[in-house]
Symmetry: C2
Subunit: 322 residues, 2 copies
């Protein structure tokens, strides 16, 4: 999913988001403003704001509260990227130098902290603590999932249930927070069929998205994915293909992968197919979660994300040995 | 201020704080719980919870809201320490191994993020967003101040006003957040003489505390301060003695300090005295801020902090060349 689907319906939403984010620069101390401008200058796919906007969508221009919610979720995501780039020693992100590259790891870690804290300041300017609770929880889960994955590196006996919990925390929970924030701020509270449907969609979509990402890391060439590939297993990170191959053929497969053998040689065609089946099953679960919301104006927008992910999955699947 | 003053009146408060914090361990994923236990096992001076409790003090046991506020401020502080220890490559803190030492920089950065996010989750469980706003703002200022100080390293023309702004952000603003949180959660809102008095006290105390810390870094022996000293100027960080000596004798003094000469040889006795005068003037300003709150039950507790800092300042002053 190197590119994101188009959302012409959300053009006014994205413009309002861009203006809101640009208006945050001056809230920071003068010394930090160039760093803030840098991370805002090269937006990524804006997947989390899209989830927030689609969950709040009623066909009209978005309310200031929904724009704020989308911005807060994106700022939390950007803060995690700033830290990820320090941890990975990454110099480039979205075709631009990272804060890690421009200002060094020391300033980049502290800047990521300040960015995250500012997101919570923005959330706390609303009359209720709902947005704070959603994004703080989402952020805690993202970071907890990353700690768990760091600890599980090279752990050949990593349980399948733990892998699934780790990707839920690392990726799906902030998707859930984005959808809940959009629903909540457009007047559809926790417990309402709308918010719960959107949250269930986001949970399955996030897991599907991370399974896709883990498969792409092993199967796509660097050029087509827009980032360095094959890095997971090289750093000892075991993902779905490795764990399913272990179930199929035994622990020797994991040993060979951790020793640096090419995943395409170690993992059997049946295992690649099983991975793609699990991915499709999560995509289908996401779509099923929206069935009760068939008449909501935002549902077609959310379904565009699963359609897009399914197409991206097919592309990755075509690269799997058969 | 290697030791903190005693607060027998706050014994029930500290016990409630300890219980509340211990109760947070299980809110984290199992993989993170040992890290949470580790940082809670060796509490520091608990200066920020003390400020929150003293600002809320009415002689009775603390309300659950005030205990929560004190815990949230302390968790934010602990999260910044986890990151500081990664940035400084520190292996020990409060006589115990740091997460950086035990789990490596990678996990420690992400764990600090999770700890900070959890603090905000706890704040967001209150019915209003006040505590979120106070601690998120305080945290943003701490991190911003640290970014500013990182950028100003080795900058021989650092303005005095910028030094003062940086120490306000880095240290005083979280003191302010602690006092405002205590006041707010005990029913004395922003704008009330009580909260504004406590906030003005905290601002001056925080600046005084950081000036003290900067002086101690140059003047105290490692043994009596409980940490490695002389590290500021060695890392290019210019503090009050350097800036006041530059005002007195010109830029050559700063050049000599940055070149590694002993501060005790470079900085004149008159400059050390001027530093101690500024420190005393901030302590006096903190005390004056409490004059309108003379009858508040917490005021004697807050004044114990200035008395203690004044005694610590005298000890440092006795080490200054004359």
């Amino acid at each position: 999913m190197a590119q994101a689907p188009e959302f012409p319906e959300l053009a006014p939403h994205r413009a309002a988001l861009r203006d809101f984010l640009a208006g945050q620069v001056d809230a920071f101390e003068p010394e930090l403003r160039p760093m803030v401008r840098d991370v805002l200058a090269h937006p990524g796919k804006l997947l989390r704001p899209t989830l927030a906007f689609a969950s709040a969508f009623d066909g009209a221009t978005p309310s200031p509260e929904v724009v704020r919610g989308a911005a807060v979720v994106e700022l939390v995501h950007l803060a995690t990227l700033v830290h990820d780039d320090v941890l990975d020693g990454a110099d480039q992100r979205h075709g631009s130098d990272t804060p890690n590259r421009t200002h060094g790891a020391h300033a980049a870690i502290l800047f990521g902290d300040a960015l995250f804290a500012h997101a919570l300041v923005l959330a706390a300017e609303l009359p209720t603590p709902d947005l704070c609770r959603l994004v703080a929880t989402g952020a805690r889960e993202v970071c907890s999932g990353e700690v768990c994955q760091t600890f599980s590196r090279g752990q050949a006996d990593l349980a399948m249930a733990d892998y699934r919990r780790h990707i839920r925390l690392k990726t799906a929970e902030l998707f859930v927070a984005a959808c809940r924030a959009g629903s909540q701020l457009s007047g559809m509270p926790a417990g309402s069929p709308h918010q719960e449907g959107c949250a269930a969609f986001a949970l399955a979509l996030g897991i599907a998205y991370q399974i896709y990402d883990d498969l792409a890391d092993m199967l796509l060439s660097s050029a087509s994915a827009g980032k360095t590939l094959g890095t997971d297993v090289a750093s000892g990170k075991l993902t779905l293909p490795a764990l399913l191959e272990r179930e199929r053929s035994g622990p020797e497969a994991v040993r060979r992968l951790l020793a640096g053998e090419d995943p395409r040689a170690v993992i059997a065609p049946a295992t690649w197919r099983a991975c793609l089946d699990q991915l499709e099953s999560e995509i289908a679960a996401a779509e099923r979660a929206l069935a009760p919301l068939a008449s909501a104006p935002g549902t077609p927008l959310l379904l565009r994300l699963t359609t897009f992910l399914r197409a991206a999955a097919a592309k990755v699947g075509a690269q799997a040995p058969r």
